[in-house]
Symmetry: C2
Subunit: 718 residues, 2 copies
């Protein structure tokens, strides 16, 4: 640790004569964070998830000197595929398809036969005949886009009222979709026609897909290497993960699909500074949210999710440690990992909302956007008050933030107490009963009490206590509501009282109480429902009132953005095909700089550091790789491409439409990508094409697939 | 990127009857960060740099079940060494000494012969005869500690006044040191006697060292592998750095020193959870600083260093890019790295000061400390007002924060403009001249103008402009002082005016102007000195007034801490020997978890990722290691041991006094260790003993050293 250079804290002495001069009293000034005042919105803060109907030709030309013609874009979208929840692409002329292992887990599990665990153990079809068909699965290839904006607008002409317009829009959509489906031979002709609403209705496109339904599993690595580092490493980089799976699309005759459109594998790969493109289907983004909405998320809604997960995980961890056997049976470890994964995601999102620079950028964007609206009388008339109205709605919700935060996930089977969930149901049941509701309704409510699944007492009681802590955190300990609930007890004390005294402590006693009619409003668990409901009721009413208006304003803001900026700003993600340009570029992390790519050496470093049995364990096959296996082969790399969930499985291609990588994640700094895209730190993480080829050839000896990827055509046989 | 588990934002519906109840208006409460109110100071927030005179025997026993006897501690301090600026230790019975390569750079350079660059290329003395003597160097072995507190206190009895007490303290110290030096045979007997003031004078100890002056260089790796990752990776982990060098101490007969006291090398190494100890000399910490002092650092003093480095580095980077040739000649790249290193350190320090949890912990500590003082009438009388007084002093400085921040490092040869430095000197020269000062004084002031080294015009002008930006940032753009300086121009505009019009633009024109007498107070550079001096003068007066009082209060606080907590809290670091206990433990980082150790695989991963020519380049010898070289050998590891600059070169030992590692750095999260020690994230980074042995045996084929480390004795020959 070479010491930092000392910085002299005092300037050189100045002439004494001058020093004796009168002090400049006015010298003390209060400038609050002046640096933030100069923060400007970037032109791409809203992202770079370009649509294929409005590709940014000029931008690509002026920025990179890259002039793609129509044919380039046509080949790009015809080689890309959308599969359920993920993206994929053709990577050979013989229908070979590439996606992520984490996208294919369900399929791999499905094709596993008795005694096989192909997700864990991996799969390789040594011959074409061994490729295993996946049932109820499909891949959609975008073959045509039609702009139907005018027709939708014409259909909406003169229709007023939110619900009426929504209904009419659905009618017009159904009409158009049906018409085009017919044009393509009807429902069973193997096409899929979808209306895609861009810019929240600023533009309407119909996407026509060729739908392939005969997909077969070709090769997939072991889970351990395809999810190397597990949930720990999820959302992070540097990374060492072979998150790939290959399918093959077959044609109607059961033969490998012959396709002109595919992305050939590059053997050269990427270098720092390279221009790349990600073609895929980003799921959803919230980049049109106003600053007031973001601040509400930061202070209330997303923050309360973080609080919930943090506090509830403690109880789950404690139980897992004290009851290892039961925890194993409940598969509690995976549940915990899932929640920790969510906590990581929400922490990243909330963390970004606390970054003054990000908020300053969103503020500047909003200022400019509002100014542009105000500069045009028509726009001003239609959209001028949207941003302030949205702020008012957030303020309305904030008046109830304590209640809204206090009851989050109250009925959740792990994050909430089952006794409290039962008490809510019991309160409804008893109310209905006493109000003489119809017997069927009373019975239904009774069933709901019994249907609530049991929790281990420790978790149940701890989650109950945590709920009381939520009340204290959100309302303050001295609030009458809190004092009314706790009756002077600690959260833990009150939770114990309820668990000891309530007939709803578990489902067996609940059933007994219901059968004997012994359950009453005086039950210690049921007794607290009324004050909670009284505190929560008004909050829920406000929430119910505000939500549709928020949706309406968001939608109008989307259209306003389109009217102001046109297609120079891409629309929010809609799980439809996009093309994102990016540069292979390092970034500052952890006090140093993250490399543009990692190598197999790093995978082994992690294996030996964390050890067998850890999330960085390696499968048997990898522990003694052949000598020809080149550990210096790039394994994962990063680029500035703008991606988000749904992009998993997207190919990363170069200017020659060759595959250089396979998107599978973003770095931890990309989590605020939900609401702002900042290429200074946001990185898309991909499996490197070179790493895939090396593993296929050297580890899996999957020569026929290696050859197919390299040559572009099926080579047949083993 | 498996998606996060969706968390339902809305609770289950509750009975409508209850929902219709009156809204609870009082439900809206304002609780500001209630979570922080519950943050408590940890008992070891002030650290674990234990002294050898007050070792924490009970703490070690109750915490780890580790009962070390007196002999254990004696062996520990007798095997440890202090060398200039760093720590070291004996690691064989034949005087072999281990320290860091970065501590030994000067020595290695010194012993390089013509045509050799041993720092870069590494060195290995194949035989004993080849070991190269280092001149003017030493290693101190602590052989005895004597508590002289009573004697110092007696000497101070009745002496009042800060200066008087300081002088008397020095006299008593000199007296004691002289007496003990005499007892050990006088000045030239090979001992070094030092007074060590602990707890800012709460305790006084005399440390008696055996001083060894015949040290020879035995083996040192290539700089590239000993500083792998360079300044980028400095202060970070995960890390892959062989930062080691071995010396040998020779006795008065020129034979390798036979020593009973050394730390034998462990061949087993460490595992997660292991207890380890770091024996070394931490340089300095500021853990007694009050919250007001920390807040002043956060808002003013340290923050302005961050601002200075950030803004000034821009100009240096730009020049380095536009003038590569000149930059190489100036060695500008190294200068830049040095500043970036400082920026990293200060950013970590300031970042920690912005962490509300850290500040809350320091506040809670201060509250408890004040309460403990107030609980004892004697303590209250002597120390009761120290903390509030320190806060007042910070408030006084804050009144001048704009001036104090604006003129930081104004005369610095790279971070300041040379023209402005010349202008300050010229102003003094012209003032002295006009006031008829003695000719020698005038001449001296004149020389100072000429002596200011020249800067490239681009850097000079940019730093001048940045200085004006500092004024705007600190005073606000509309402040009369700023307007007076800039006269309506932009910072860049005014800098250009000065550079074009001033006779002080470079030293040649300055000399000419001085020779012709053409320099006057109207020179555009000199003209701005008066307003600056007027703005700065009062600030400097306050600073000058406050500083001695701060020192006095800090010192009293140190004594108060000792009186309240005794030796249960260790004193701030004093570059004297300490023992820090730590546990080998991972920690959360970058969204995942950092491993307890890294391996050589990771070193190669970095080499192939960043590439040849980067800071992660590898020396020739390492590019084709022998097959027997085990890449899975642990290379660096982390523990929770409390260390800081000065600890570099400290051995990490296990309970059997065996070397398991060699401290060389802390992680980025350890930077706030200056003012708070938080083992949740603060990690000491060490070279793993196993990694050292593997490199010595396999890469350097340094069999005789490998054998000596393993057997504990010199094996002689090659």
């Amino acid at each position: 640790m070479p010491a930092p250079v000392p910085i002299e804290a005092d300037p050189e002495p100045v002439a004494e004569a001058a020093m004796a001069a009168e002090p400049d009293e006015a010298a003390i000034s209060e400038v609050a964070d002046p640096a933030l005042d100069t923060v400007q919105a970037g032109i791409f803060d809203n992202g770079k998830m370009w649509t294929f109907e409005y590709p940014p030709l000029d931008y690509l030309r002026t920025t990179y000197g890259f002039s793609a013609d129509e044919e380039w874009f046509r080949r790009a979208h015809l080689s890309a595929l959308r599969i359920p929840s993920c993206s994929a692409s053709f990577v050979s002329a013989s229908g070979l398809v590439m996606t992520n292992h984490h996208c294919a887990r369900g399929s791999i599990e499905q094709v596993s036969r008795e005694g096989e665990d192909l997700v864990a153990d991996g799969f390789y079809a040594a011959t074409l005949e061994d490729e295993r068909p996946i049932e109820d699965y499909y891949a959609d290839q975008l073959i045509e886009i039609r702009d139907v904006t005018d027709r939708v607008y014409a259909g909406l002409e003169g229709v007023t009222g939110t619900q009426e317009r929504a209904d009419r829009r659905q009618e017009v959509t159904d009409e158009i979709v049906a018409e085009i489906t017919e044009e393509f031979g009807g429902e069973d002709a193997g096409f899929n026609v979808e209306m895609v609403e861009l810019y929240a209705g600023g533009r309407y496109s119909v996407y026509i897909f060729r739908r392939y339904t005969d997909l077969r599993l070709v090769i997939s690595p072991e889970l351990q290497v395809a999810y190397f580092g597990g949930d720990y490493d999820n959302f992070t980089y540097p990374r060492y993960d072979l998150d790939m799976t290959f399918y093959r699309v077959y044609d109607d005759n059961g033969e490998p699909l012959q396709t002109e459109f595919y992305f050939p594998f590059s053997e050269e790969g990427v270098s720092e500074g390279d221009l790349v493109f990600v073609i895929g289907n980003p799921g959803s983004t919230s980049r049109l949210q106003t600053v007031a909405e973001l601040e509400y998320r930061r202070d209330v809604s997303d923050q309360s999710v973080v609080d919930l997960l943090k506090t509830r995980l403690v109880a789950l961890h404690e139980y897992a440690e004290s009851h290892p056997e039961e925890a194993r049976e409940m598969d509690l470890r995976n549940t915990i990992f899932g929640f920790e994964n969510s906590l990581k995601a929400y922490t990243g999102i909330v963390g970004g909302l606390h970054d003054p620079v990000k908020i300053a950028k969103r503020k500047d964007h909003e200022r400019r956007f509002q100014a542009a609206i105000d500069a045009d009388p028509d726009l001003q008339a239609e959209y001028g008050d949207l941003i302030p109205r949205m702020a008012e709605l957030q303020a309305q919700k904030r008046e109830h933030d304590a209640a809204l935060s206090s009851f989050l996930a109250v009925g959740h089977p792990q994050l909430g107490s089952s006794t409290m969930a039962r008490a809510f149901a019991a309160f409804q049941y008893l109310s209905a009963q006493s109000q003489g509701a119809p017997p069927e309704m009373v019975d239904e409510l009774k069933d709901a009490i019994v249907a609530t699944p049991d929790q281990p007492r420790e978790i149940n009681e701890a989650q109950l206590a945590q709920r009381f802590h939520d009340f204290i955190r959100n309302y303050g300990p001295d609030h009458p509501f809190v004092q009314g609930i706790l009756e002077g007890r600690t959260p833990e004390g009150m939770a114990a009282v309820i668990m000891d005294g309530s007939m709803l402590a578990d489902s067996a006693t609940a059933v007994a109480a219901l059968n004997t009619g012994g359950l009453s409003m005086d039950d210690p668990a049921v007794r607290i429902v009324l004050p909670i409901a009284q505190a929560l009721g008004p909050a829920q009413q406000v929430q119910a009132m505000v939500t549709p208006e928020e949706t309406e304003i968001s939608s109008a803001l989307g259209r306003a953005l389109f009217e102001v900026y046109g297609t120079s700003v891409p629309p929010d993600a809609t799980f439809s095909l996009r093309i994102a340009d990016g540069v292979v570029q390092d970034y500052e992390y952890n006090g140093t700089v993250a490399p543009v790519y990692t190598t197999y050496y790093g995978m082994y470093d992690h294996y030996y550091s964390y050890g067998a049995g850890s999330d960085w364990d390696l499968p048997e096959l990898w522990l003694s790789p052949p000598e020809s296996f080149d550990l210096s082969t790039p394994l994962n790399f990063v680029s500035t491409a703008d991606i988000i969930g749904g992009n998993s499985g997207s190919p990363v291609i170069d200017q020659n439409l060759q595959v250089v990588g396979l998107i599978f994640d973003g770095n931890i700094e990309s989590l605020p990508g939900d609401y702002i895209y900042l290429p200074v730190e946001n990185r898309a993480v991909a499996v490197d094409a070179r790493g895939m080829l090396e593993a296929l050839e050297e580890i899996y000896q999957a020569d026929r697939i290696f050859q197919e990827l390299v040559s572009g055509v099926l080579v047949g046989g083993n």
